[in-house]
Symmetry: C2
Subunit: 293 residues, 2 copies
Amino acid sequence: MSIRCEQSPDEVSRVVRCWQRGGGSVGLVPTMGALHEGHLSLVRASVAECERTVVSIFLNPTQFSPGEDLERYPRRLEEDCRVLGEAGADLVFCPAEQTMYPPGFCTYVVQEGLPERLCGAFRPGHFRGVLTVVMKLFQVAPAQRAYFGRKDFQQSVLIRRMAEDLNVPVEVRVMPTVREKDGLAMSSRNEYLTAEQRRQAVCLYEALAAARRLFRKGERSSERLLGKMREVVAGFPAARAQYVEIVDPDTLQPVRQVGEDSVGALAVCLGEVRLIDNMPFGECPDIFLGRDS
Amino acid sequence: MSIRCEQSPDEVSRVVRCWQRGGGSVGLVPTMGALHEGHLSLVRASVAECERTVVSIFLNPTQFSPGEDLERYPRRLEEDCRVLGEAGADLVFCPAEQTMYPPGFCTYVVQEGLPERLCGAFRPGHFRGVLTVVMKLFQVAPAQRAYFGRKDFQQSVLIRRMAEDLNVPVEVRVMPTVREKDGLAMSSRNEYLTAEQRRQAVCLYEALAAARRLFRKGERSSERLLGKMREVVAGFPAARAQYVEIVDPDTLQPVRQVGEDSVGALAVCLGEVRLIDNMPFGECPDIFLGRDS
């Protein structure tokens, strides 16, 4: 079960290219570590669809704004490697920070428009850091497919757009959100929650689910669906909504008339902990842990 | 001598990957067309060093600022393809503008610091356009080596930095400037010059050469070497210097004490035509057409 853990980009490139020459397809799962069932669902998808799976574990400093939780973000490389081995991954890429960002580093991947929406409006520079590190990972480990979680909805839209715009030969696969039994989306940041905050953290899912129920009864006004979402969050005294939106899945622009492909998305703070969640109004293949499906 | 000319990025990718699988090395020469001896020297270097050579011809709109010469930039694809076939290139990639920048395109590669120096100070957005299109070309045609002309000095520094920062597995080869007999660096923009402007266009080379002569006599003060360069340009009444600098070859920052690796660089306007040139103070392998070497 012991998995190979490699710090050197050159060595990872060598191994991946060697696999490719053998004709096998390669899947890449970029992570920041502190792995949970959401990450593992991505790894299992890659293992099922590709002959080899590379998981990167890199707590990327450039996607944290000053004052955010970089310092306290959970780190547990050894345990992460153990579960990745069990899940069938073939290689862990865990570079040092100074390897990824050596002195003189000055190149970034940016987007116009999309990163200013939703989370981007509250996390300046966040998506520049995400796009830059993911582009680097795409070059180090040139996989046929890369796996991202639907929970980070805006991120998945931006990365898909980047791959298309910059002609990166990778299929960006966006996989269903994995949720706790009560609906809370899995996130490494859930560990920060106190017991009381954890109980109230279900407000994100409850708000999205309530709006979906209204939609299924025929409501199409974004104003009224947003009103329902805000009302649900307001019912949780510890929760403070940062944004509540219903957007087009490609442009991330607010919609007036809600359709099956429209996406409800929100960010909520519980004390110092900032959580996000989203859901399409049409078919939604989310996975609930410990629930009969 | 007829060379294959391909508009489709997917098809170019397929061909290049097919070559790679056969074990052959691939060279990429990005150009905007209107090819001259400078471009052909890059093609010949690639043909000599790589088993296959791809030349891209794409007049990249994103690297032209509003009001620049995009509209009048010379276009002659048929003749370009003919000389590329004669030079031994294997494939021309000549995509349509809407293929490279489809509706919704919003992703760019940027750098902090370096693009603000030299030409970048006078051409806002220019290097963002250059880096973005070159990154796209690196993805479409994943070559082992890519060839750029030393004449576009700042461009070559930025592209090398980008490849390193974003882990692009390509060797960036920067080749000697090719000059006319009188020293004028080859450029597609030389075609804009009137006969009188053409005569005075030698001022860039003369300024660099004069400073180098002073340097070889022992002068190390950038102030005095810059003074000499400005004095030479001032002797040409049609020429208006945009910048005259002596910089570090990696940081592009001005130097006080000039060394062998310091680079003299200048931009000069002759009427509407903007020309650039540069030269290191140490060894300089420039090629002079029609001179005995």
